[in-house]
């Protein structure tokens, strides 16, 4: 009896165990054979990832390898709204630290998502404050951001980038393809706490760093001209201005300054007007500086003798229905004196000898009416009507710099052609592209577009322009101990009625030094100076200041290199 009871209990226990193991094995078989593929997929999604390897953006250097634009790592903050319990409390804390309006933050946190950006590219102080809050709902992503250590310096040349480091202006935009590099990717496996298992990483494509861009500008020269320009614009209550410095022989731009300017580190705070590169984008009527074209043309064509005198009609000259005036009345002036004293009447009479067609040809030869081809976006071609569309009085306007629109860079290229002996060179802003410090990918060497005038003509015009500074309208550009050549310009602007304004002028001076072997050519353009508006009074002193400082700096640099070698 007892044995039978014992056997029954044993069978019951065995039966329970058997049932348990049957259920267990059934479950195992189901997981292993029927759900295997689905469960593997879920596991793969958790542990297998494709990770993008972002490319490092190339650095922008000046000609001496000083950094003008570089990358740094920054943190961007995000939040997981689904994890947030008290939305109002967390919004208040974050709003104060990140300086985001409370209502904006609250609407972002209310979104039914797992990932919402709070703020991109936060400062170190903001990151530290958020770390101190120790909020598990808030996370950080490390990103690369573009920084410009020299603030305003050369802002219009370098340009600026957007939040995703895409170029939006200047060199950053023009050389976007070279600077941005190529992103890579890799397939990785991670463990339970998201650490990468390197040995299990499968295919990958390496990222390629962006190329470095070395500019032709010199940081010190850039600072000299920016400082002088700001001082001049403020002194003469001007709307703006531009200064460009160039090597007249190889076309390298050593400095290009514009005012107003902006800080590319925070470009959104500045107006669109301040971001315009006036040196290449703003068109203006050049006025008397344009007389050099007529002077070179008549000399080259042999239509005037070097010491020939012309009657300057005592200050009033009638052409068809138009009366042309000189600022000062002159009777007879020699050919050089016409340019030295900037006589409109003398210049127009010389142009009449040339004729419309020949004058138009020389204007085109000097590069006007066409972009110079500098490697910067937004360059204007200027305004030059075809000779067929010239009016009866165009021959009286165009030679003195009216009825024609030019950019500051075009004018500088024109006077550089005189400085270098008669050749029009293409302006260069980029010296080379480099993969790294030791690998040059591309060199940008100077190119001569064409010969405009003979060396003899260029040399004679140089002496005339030297006379402009020695005894003419450009006396305030004279530098003791250095021979300077140049030309002044005072051009009326068109007002809202379509007529020439009596109060708004563009004052300019362009020149080169030293005359015997020019190191630099410089143009200074001041827009709407007041109360004085003459190029000789407003722009010539600026030219003198910057040229003196730049030549002194270049001499110091040359001496330093001689000592080093």
């Amino acid at each position: 009896m007892y044995d039978e009871k014992k056997n029954v209990r044993l069978y019951v226990v065995i039966f329970i165990f058997v049932c348990f193991f049957v259920v267990l094995f059934s479950r195992l078989i189901y997981i292993q054979f029927f759900s295997a593929s689905e469960l593997s997929k879920i596991a793969e999604n958790q542990y297998d990832k494709i990770v993008k390897l972002p490319a490092d953006r190339g650095t922008i250097y000046d000609r001496n390898y000083d950094m003008l634009a570089l990358n740094k790592s920054v943190f961007s903050a995000y939040i997981n709204p689904r994890q947030v319990k008290d939305k109002y409390l967390i919004s208040e804390k974050l709003s104060e630290i990140l300086a985001i309006p409370l209502d904006v933050l609250q609407s972002e946190i209310k979104k039914q998502r797992y990932f919402v950006w709070l703020k991109r590219h936060i400062s170190k102080i903001q990151k530290d404050k958020l770390d101190n809050l120790d909020l598990k709902e808030v996370g950080f992503v490390k990103e690369k951001a573009r920084f410009y250590p020299n603030d305003f310096l050369a802002a219009h040349i370098i340009g600026y980038t957007g939040i995703d480091t895409q170029g939006l202006g200047g060199i950053e935009y023009t050389f976007e393809r070279e600077l941005k590099g190529v992103s890579g990717y890799k397939y990785i496996n991670t463990d339970a706490i998201q650490r990468e298992l390197v040995y299990l990483s499968k295919r990958f494509a390496k990222s390629r760093r962006g190329h470095n861009v070395v500019l032709t500008i010199d940081k010190i020269i850039q600072y000299i001209i920016e400082d002088a320009l700001e001082e001049a614009v403020n002194k003469w209550n001007a709307v703006g201005g531009t200064i460009i410095v160039m090597n007249p022989f190889n076309g390298e731009i050593l400095g290009m300054a514009n005012y107003p300017t902006f800080d590319p580190n925070s470009f959104l705070k500045y107006s669109d007007d301040s971001k315009i590169n006036r040196a290449i984008s703003s068109i203006f009527e050049p006025g008397s500086v344009f007389k050099i074209v007529t002077a070179c043309a008549v000399l080259e064509e042999g239509l005037v003798e070097k010491d020939e005198e012309l009657d300057c009609e005592n200050g009033i000259y009638k052409i068809k229905s138009h009366r042309l005036h000189d600022y000062h009345s002159y009777s007879n002036l020699t050919f050089p004196e016409i340019i030295i004293n900037s006589s409109n009447i003398g210049t127009v009479k010389l142009a009449q000898r040339l004729g419309q067609d020949k004058l138009y040809e020389y204007i085109r030869l000097f590069g006007f009416g066409k972009a110079t081809g500098i490697d910067l976006c937004g360059e204007a071609e200027g305004i030059l009507r075809d000779v067929e569309n010239w009016s009866d009085i165009s021959i009286a306007s165009i030679p003195i710099g009216q009825e024609v629109g030019v950019t500051a860079l075009q004018m500088l290229c024109a006077i550089s052609a005189i400085a270098n002996g008669g050749k029009l060179v293409r302006p260069l802003i980029v010296k080379r592209l480099e993969a790294d410090e030791n690998t040059i990918l591309k060199k940008f060497s100077y190119s001569v577009k064409r010969r405009i005038i003979s060396k003899q003509t260029a040399d004679f015009v140089k002496s005339i322009l030297e006379g402009v500074v020695e005894e003419g309208t450009g006396r305030r550009a004279k530098i003791n101990g250095i021979k300077v050549a140049g030309k002044t310009g005072t051009a009326q602007k068109i007002d809202s009625t379509g007529r020439y304004s009596k109060t708004k002028y563009v004052a300019s001076f362009m020149g080169f030094a030293p005359v015997e072997n020019p190191s630099i050519s410089v143009i200074v353009v001041i827009d709407e100076p007041s109360p004085v508006h003459f190029g000789g009074t407003v722009s010539a002193p600026v030219f003198k200041k910057v040229t003196k400082d730049i030549l002194s700096y270049l001499k110091t640099f040359e001496d330093r290199n001689i000592v080093k070698n």
């Binding site: 000083d66 570089l70 250590p149 020299n150 305003f152 310096l153 990468e196 940081k219």
Partner: protein, 124 residues
């Protein structure tokens, strides 16, 4: 006899198996070290960039001029000439490090050779 052979075979394959498992564990540990070193490299590269930025900023003429003005030197002018002095300084001798020798057995078994015994309660 047969039983002894069977036991020896089991022991042999167990040892092989243990070596294989140890190798796999070493691979995983090494991959963690590689990842840690990568993070360290990223950190150093970031620091290097930060330093480059700071150097460029300090070299900036805008910063230099404003710094000079801050200390009250309003008469700051570009130098017209300068002098180069060469100092007679010996180059600093580099420290020579000796790599510790690692024997084959410790490599296989994952033992690290250390000069001193580790304390039990090691603080990080």
């Amino acid at each position: 006899m047969k039983f002894r052979r069977m036991v020896l075979t089991i022991i042999f394959f167990t040892i092989i198996g243990l070596f294989y498992v140890n190798q796999q564990v070493k691979i995983v540990v090494t991959s963690y070290k590689i990842e840690k070193n990568k993070h360290r490299l990223d950190y150093l590269v970031d620091k290097n960039r930060e330093l480059n930025y700071n150097v460029s900023r300090l070299n900036s003429p805008c910063y230099l001029v404003s710094a000079v003005k801050d200390i009250g030197a309003s008469d700051f002018k570009l130098s017209r000439n300068f002098k180069v002095e060469y100092l007679n300084v010996k180059p600093i001798e580099k420290f020579v490090t000796v790599e510790p020798k690692v024997n084959l057995l410790s490599m296989l078994l994952g033992w690290e050779s250390k000069a001193e015994a580790e304390t039990v309660n090691k603080t990080k």
